[in-house]
């Protein structure tokens, strides 16, 4: 299967690989997927408690090139966005940007889930209700 140039670029030069201290009260962590499915993503955001702006984002992914690229792209998009703006990132935006083929759409879905899971983790730490996503992926 041929990968798009953008997927290859993210795979070869992944942005924002790393780990944030998940015990900090302004760090939200989302861990989604399962090893037996061949995809696990961990996405973390570091939020400015005053402004609600995501100041840093890191990821680590176990998965195919498209999964790595989707999460790498997600961290790029998250940085500088407010938490509320980040919620509007849709998996289809990722599909479009990376030109993912139909069999790889689940990678973008996983990235969107990881974003939401990280935001919810942050909200829970702040004593806020987690956001229930109307969109059911699985």
């Amino acid at each position: 299967m041929a990968y798009s140039e953008k997927v290859i670029d993210h795979y070869q030069n992944p942005r924002n690989i790393g780990t944030l201290d998940k015990s900090l009260d302004n760090v939200g962590t989302g861990l989604v997927g399962a090893p037996e499915c061949g995809d696990v993503m961990r996405l973390q955001i570091q939020v400015n408690n005053e402004t609600g702006v995501i100041e840093d984002a890191k990821f680590k992914t176990f998965g195919c090139g498209s999964a790595i690229a989707s999460s790498s792209l997600a961290t790029e998009w998250l940085k500088g966005k407010t938490i509320n703006d980040a919620l509007s990132i849709d998996n289809m935006d990722i599909v479009e940007e990376l030109a993912l083929p139909p069999v790889k759409i689940h990678c973008s879905v996983l990235a969107e889930d990881a974003i939401k899971a990280a935001i919810n983790d942050y909200r829970t730490k702040k004593g806020l209700e987690p956001i229930i996503d109307g969109k059911k992926h699985y």
Binding site: G38, G63, D113, Y138
Partner: protein, 404 residues
């Protein structure tokens, strides 16, 4: 200068040996006759070439020329063997014994026969991928007509005790078929001493052309017959109709002759290179060989690199051509059924690479592959959350994963 990518997928197919091509060339244009044309020299010349190739092929496996039935390849041979035996011996019984890590051409043919009234036992191999003669014998019933066990597995290269199984089958009066596609031309296979009644194999796995294969069908002790699956001119002693693929057959014959002459030396050379590759790659933490190492084809190694995903790894090793046990591209996300049926965790099955060395693999290429794979595994582990958890001592099984 090393030419990239390096081909290390010789279990999928092999490049044709130039000597094979040379043998074939005149039969495309100069000697183009139909081997079944009995009335003129064009036909005679083609028939002579086919007869000669039949001898070369028979000789490699200890058979006689008349026992070689040409087909389009091993898939057709497997279909002909199983369906042909089932139809021919149905009155005697309907039970077939096979193994659940056989090639799809066996498994799916058995599934098809089950719909036609066959009863099929799919044995589970031992963790090393092999079945024992005791396991097979225990599955025999009064209505058993056929045992079909692959000589060597295509994904992990493990070799079954075919000689013992064949001998046992004959003691019980049950026919013995083996899918020998990966082993003939690579290791010594002898249908007489191995007590084989039917054997499937093809040319393109042994440096011959694609589109030509054979089914060995024993003619003596016992005399075996299979019902033809293609109706037509009654070629191949009525077992497989269709104009013979003369060029392919000539190439197949030459490939067998070369294998016969060079197998012993070649297998030693390849085992050495394979062992070097394997030893080096196993220096990576958490890497494991899949399947038997004691009974294995000399040119095959299947290794799982835990905590990296196979398809991602394939992308990282783009300068070598190998196969992955991960089938993430398919909608099912199912990893290799062969590795799963060996009892491997899905996780390990997803992280596997199959290396298949061949006649044209050299040491420089292996050295390159070692570095290339090591670099890719290390890079992917640096970005793997599972590797990080493993390093922190977290038991991955203790985590509630969100299945998707």
């Amino acid at each position: 200068m090393l030419k990239l990518p390096i081909y290390l997928d010789n279990n999928a197919t092999t490049p044709m040996d130039p000597r094979v091509l040379e043998a074939m060339l005149p039969y495309f244009t100069e000697y183009f006759g139909n081997a079944a044309s009995r009335n003129h020299p064009f036909g005679w010349k083609a028939e002579e070439a086919v007869d000669y190739a039949r001898e070369q092929i028979a000789k490699l496996i200890g058979a006689t020329e008349k026992e070689i039935i040409f087909t389009s390849g091993a898939t057709e041979s497997n279909n002909l063997a199983l369906k042909g035996v089932f139809e021919m011996y149905r009155e005697k019984g309907n039970h077939i014994i096979t193994v659940n890590i056989e090639h799809k051409a066996i498994i799916d043919t058995c599934r098809h026969l089950e719909k036609q009234g066959a009863e099929v036992t799919y044995l589970e191999p031992q963790p090393d991928g092999r079945v024992s003669v005791e396991q097979v014998e225990a599955a025999i019933k009064p209505n058993t007509i056929l045992i079909s066990v692959m000589y060597a597995n295509n994904e992990i290269g493990c070799i079954n005790p075919i000689r013992e199984i064949g001998e046992m089958a004959h003691r019980h009066g049950v026919l013995m078929h083996t899918d020998a596609t990966q082993s003939i031309g690579k290791i010594p296979v002898n249908v007489l001493t191995d007590h084989i009644d039917l054997a499937s194999f093809s040319a393109h796995k042994m440096y011959g052309p694609k589109g030509i294969g054979a089914l060995y069908v024993r003619r003596k002790n016992p005399r075996v017959k299979v019902t033809s699956q293609l109706d037509g001119g009654g070629h191949e002693r009525g077992m497989r109709s269709g104009t013979l693929n003369v060029t392919g057959i000539v190439g197949f014959g030459k490939a067998c002759e070369l294998a016969m002459n060079e197998m012993a030396e070649e297998s030693i050379r390849l085992a050495k290179l394979r062992d070097k590759l394997e030893t080096e790659l196993l220096t990576l933490e958490e890497s494991y060989v899949n399947g038997s190492t004691a009974h294995r084809l000399p040119h095959v190694s299947n290794i799982s690199f835990k905590y990296v995903e196979g398809e991602g790894l394939m992308m990282g090793v783009k300068d070598i051509a190998v196969s992955s046990g991960s089938a993430c591209t398919s909608a099912s996300l199912e990893p290799s059924y062969v590795l799963k049926n060996l009892g491997l965790d899905d996780e390990l099955a997803h992280s596997s690479l199959r290396f298949g060395l061949g006649r044209f693999t050299n040491e420089e290429q292996i050295d390159f592959a070692i570095d290339h794979v090591k670099t890719a595994v290390e890079k992917l582990r640096d970005m793997s959350p599972l590797w990080e958890m493993f390093k922190e001592g977290i038991d991955l099984k203790s985590i509630e994963w969100a299945e998707h």
